[in-house]
Amino acid sequence: MSHDPAAFISLRRVCKSYQRGSEKIRVLNELDLDIRQGEFVAIMGPSGSGKTTLLNLLGGLDRPDTGTIRTGGHELNRMGVSALAKWRAEHVGFVFQSYNLLEGLSAARNVELPLLVTRMSGTERAQRVKAALEVVGLSERHKHKPNQLSGGQQQRVAIARALISDPDVLLCDEPTGDLDRETANQVLKLLHQLNEARGKTILMVTHDPLAAAFANHIIHVDKGAILSAPHTSAHSAAEESQPLAASFRSPPDPATPHPPAFPALI
């Protein structure tokens, strides 16, 4: 497959296997993928198809057996554990299905967590936390503990935590899997807004076609390979799915102004 020179994220011939007892299971098989900056991509597929493994590789949480993964000029497969941790702190935000907030901490303290490993002062951290909670509409609830918040509010806190370091990429693993439809739509609209207005590149694993409809592009993964996309989302109806939806050529809407840096933005 030809390389997309404009690709922000690029995977080439990526293989990943896991050992289960005596059996070696290949989860990803010679996978190629290009994603441009500012795209909102939904990754769909049946359970065990390899979509979460793909997300983990993209976030530097796991390493490929073979192949290369480049993100924003960083070749992840060549980076050490500490370098990957630093890279995650600066460039990636994670949003999980079960929110994964720390129960003993307030919303503000949860959001602040990624900044503790930086050299940022307490005052600056507090300003950033305040701004991030405003973005997700929860500034009034900054003192609430997770068990004092609804599921949707907890997921918005998790999104604020993912945003706090002003990352290039948001990786979302079933972010609406535990939410009712109305709340899920609110969270998806928030992600869509972050993509549209702030230019965040978002990759979202989901089982839910209605959630996928919020993305610009949908890729289907099955048996460790990327299959053709059967349809495009409602927000990118004009675009045509590719026979092998491994490469996306649709740049962000030029009418959307490119977002300024994070602190100024929020």
């Binding site: 999980f96 003993g104 503790l116 490993v117 307490g122």
Partner: protein, 382 residues
């Protein structure tokens, strides 16, 4: 300190579990402190059993008096370093139930024989040394009786009457006796021999028993035999026993009991410690997901390991601190009372250091497995 809110938040989210573990840790460290003090006291008892201090009394019975002249004779024997004597006064203050050990002693030789005791200021010590009505009162005895330096106190004796048939002896508290050795028994009263000997109605120039300091432990058995041999053909033959013959068998019994009790306590402490280590480690295991989340947002292995080890060691150290303070107060408070039966029962800086090392080892041990578990992000997130 920037991670304080994170650590404190984690602790507070499981506060009851933490509190239970913390309380158990504190109790465990108190028990450890007691075990160390007990162990030293017991080993010290065994050491004392081999001491060079000998006691000479009447061969027939300890209530029979020995002649005062024996003291000088014993002092002239080879391998004798110091000699003093004492007699039981059998005294009580006001209430017959208010009895304390009161001894009639020769102040000069007694002070040389027991250099671990201090007798107040030089003037007060000289006052006691001068004899007469001046008595020296142990600190614990003074506290118990409510006496202070300068008080004049009437003391009854259940044994000794004066020539006028009175059993009331008037004394003046010349000095309060203290000791640098916290295990020393200061619940005693010391009465000068001279005036007492002149005033008593009977038993003049007699002493209860003679205390002899041998040159060395090794010299004790032979000296004891020599003393008894020296007085064998006299009107009042002696029996020198104490801490060689009699106490050798006592020592071995004490040694066995000590070893048994110490082993039982050690097993209990180690078992409890291992359970607590397991409990702490389990607590961290329950937080694997938390560590996984922290790693996804950029915390590296070193930071996570530091948080786990820091929290574990801090918890353990804090519990050890409280345990040491509580144990210190209770051991040192009960020390004087226990000292009557078990000398050396007190807390030392080395005991504290041992408990601190124990706390460090526990903290490290409890965090070792969680640190290894936290290295795998994906398993933590599952």
């Amino acid at each position: 300190m920037r991670y304080w809110s994170l650590v404190w938040g984690s602790v507070m989210s499981r506060k009851w579990a933490y509190l239970a573990t913390f309380a158990a840790l504190v109790l465990c460290f108190i028990l450890s402190s007691y075990m160390l003090a007990f162990s030293r006291a017991m080993s010290r008892g065994v050491q004392l059993s081999g001491t060079q201090r000998l006691v000479v009394w009447h061969k027939t019975s300890i209530i029979e008096l020995l002649p005062l002249s024996y003291v000088d004779e014993v002092a002239k024997l080879d391998d004798v370093v110091a000699v003093t004597h004492r007699s039981f006064f059998g005294g009580y203050y006001r209430d017959p139930g208010n009895q304390l050990p009161m001894w009639v002693v020769d102040p000069g030789s007694f002070m040389r024989y027991y250099p671990e005791y201090s007798f107040g200021t030089p003037a007060q010590a000289a006052d006691f040394l001068a004899g007469g009505e001046a008595i020296a009162v142990g600190r614990a005895a003074a506290d118990a009786l409510g006496w202070k330096q300068g008080d004049r106190v009437p003391v009854h004796s259940v044994i000794w009457t004066k020539k006028d048939d009175s059993d009331v002896w008037m004394f003046r508290v010349a000095a309060i006796v203290d000791s640098k050795d916290p295990s020393a028994n200061t619940r005693q009263v010391f009465i000068p021999y001279g005036a007492f000997n002149e005033a008593r109605a009977f038993g003049k120039n007699g002493v209860g028993y003679i205390e002899v300091m041998a040159r060395s432990d090794a010299a004790s058995p032979a000296l004891a035999k020599r003393i008894d041999a020296h007085f064998e053909s006299s009107a009042k033959p002696t029996h020198t026993s104490t801490l060689s013959g009699f106490l050798q068998s006592f020592a071995s019994q004490i040694g066995e009991i000590s070893s048994l009790v110490y082993s039982a306590m050690a097993i209990v402490v180690v078992t409890v410690l291992m359970m607590l280590v397991g409990q702490l480690a389990h607590g961290f295991s329950l937080r694997r997901k938390e560590f996984g989340v922290l790693k996804t947002i950029g915390y590296d292995n070193l930071t996570i390991s530091g948080l786990i080890v820091g929290e574990s060691v801090a918890l353990s150290f804090f519990a050890a601190l409280i345990g040491l303070i509580v144990a210190g107060f209770s051991i040192n408070a009960s020390g004087p009372m226990v000292a009557k039966y078990l000398s050396g029962f007190y807390q030392t800086p080395s005991d504290m250091a041992v408990v601190a090392l124990l706390a460090l080892a526990m903290g490290l041990l409890a965090s070792a497995l969680p640190v290894l578990q936290a290295r795998s992000i994906l398993s933590a997130l599952r």
